[in-house]
Subunit: 178 residues, 4 copies
DNA sequence: TATGAATGAGTATTCATTCAT
DNA sequence: TATGAATGAATACTCATTCAT
């Protein structure tokens, strides 16, 4: 029985992960209007299971956001500001939801917390860049986050190609540079 | 008779305008998921009337976009690039849909046309700014439109306040400047 | 003024006829689900005019039925039973509504009256045919009307071609023959 | 587990059957304009359930047709032509939709198949009747199906009573007889 | 715990009918 | 009297969520 329970729990954990991964894909591809059913199918489970793990569609979206924000925060660690921004924007397409998360406020305490984490990590990169003299000293984290958000959304919705992304970012980087 | 016909048409025209205005407000506030019914209520007409003027919800959205794009194009005429961008971003909040129009492609022939109009008007401003030596010569209209789109979306979704908008744009303008 | 009134009345009469004709065509082509608007367009008038002449869609349908039933009654006059039946069936396609009228009961007093007229005219043909010895004496008008209705509906809905109509009627005529 | 799955499925199967039965009744009584909601109510389920089983109103109608056509085909097996026709016509009232199915073409592949099944079964009866010398040799299956369709529709829409049905069929049988 | 069938409120769209012009 | 815009009830279909198995 203990074994059963354990394996059940293991299954549950695996399911949770599968659902989260599936949801990320599905929402990235079809936007937030994608169906819970679609997520369930992609995850290889039944709808009921999705709702057991995430009591609400909104909760599922929040979970995705949290996950993505964490991933971005890790990306920020030990990086360089301009590289980081470039990476985020390049990957925006695969994280539509994150971007929308970045753009929203107050959705959810946990999301807000994760967002703060990303902000802190980015603030570190900014500070370092300013100490290195790469970025003008008067630039504040608020503006950097704003530019990050804006560019990610733009890249995402407008479907900029790699070249346009680079040239657009080049302008922004020029504006940030000392 | 002429008078009668005109007044009939006038009523219809008034309603059409009311619906368009209401739709602009409603969609700006609740996003594209807002109900046609909501629009009707706000416009003070019955749903049927909305559908008589705009046969589809999508058509209604397209009409809003067209209208806003035209407004922006007019704004661009006889202006200065940085002022124009600032204005667009400042007003983004009231034109969520436009921004999304800017970000979409191929929605509708007429919308595409209006979008091209805005692009042309902006291209003029850019050329003039480059001739005046205000903007670097290597900057292309593509990047300017990209920045316009991105910043509008960012300002809109993230709810930047006036100060943040100004500071963020300042960075971008610095990046564009010769 | 009198002239005006007269010409107005003349217009009205002309409109009524145009609407009736248009409705016959439209309903024949698209079935009873056709729109009042379609009828109006085909008649070259506005919907309001249709409703001024026929207060209800049902009333319009009833009017068509009456008209068609009268036409068929006239067709029956001075004819021969089998020829008459053949003609009715051949023309069924152009009078879908009539056929449905034939199949309904109690729709409308006036329609019922017109239906009775057709029945009487057919009864005359039957009597004559029986006197001539062409049709068995025990056949009653009820059966003839039933066969007429059935065959018209069948021909209409199933889209029998001319050959099939002829062969099917041949069997029925054989059954009726003395 | 197997039992559980089966009982789940059993529930679903029971519902499907209930919906089909309800739909047959409802459409027989109110014609094809009857509401999906009405069907749901009669079946004792929610609308959603109806749509889960039959994704479209049309699909539901097609399912009814298929079912009825199958029932009729079985009726044809091991029977005698005139008896068979009589039965079909007697039961027409309870199968309005079938009759319309008989009258339509190309609605749906499966329906077409079922229709062909009925035609084949009827053709067998016809062949046997002709071999037995009961029916004239030159009669073809096309005409028989045409008569079957026509009479069923007539009986249905015009509400013939039993006596009239018998007398009308008697004429047709006379026409078919050798 | 997982399943997937059932639920039912919600939404876009149509169309007979009314009524201001 | 004719017009055609406005009305709003009606209807097919969707989808987040619940719950029996």
């Amino acid at each position: 029985l203990t074994t059963d329970e354990k394996s059940l729990r293991a299954d549950a954990v695996r399911n949770r992960a599968a659902i989260l991964a599936a949801a990320t894909d599905v929402f990235a591809e079809h936007g937030p209007k994608a169906t819970t059913e679609q997520v369930a199918v992609k995850a290889g489970v039944a709808v009921g299971t999705v709702f057991r793990h995430f009591p609400t569609k909104e909760a599922l979206l929040a979970a995705i956001m949290k996950q993505s924000l964490r991933r971005l925060s890790e990306l920020a660690a030990d990086g360089e500001l301009f590289d980081f921004i470039t990476q985020v924007v390049d990957e925006a397409a695969s994280t539509q939801t994150v971007v929308e998360a970045l753009a929203q406020h107050g959705v959810d305490v946990e999301v807000a917390h994760a967002l703060q984490g990303l902000r802190d990590a980015t603030a570190d990169l900014l500070a370092r860049a300013q100490q290195a003299g790469t970025v003008r000293p008067e630039v504040k984290i608020d503006e950097v986050m704003a530019l990050l958000t804006a560019t990610s959304q733009g890249a995402l919705h407008a479907g900029w190609d790699r070249g346009l992304r680079r040239r657009t970012l080049a302008i922004i980087f020029a504006g940030l540079s000392a």
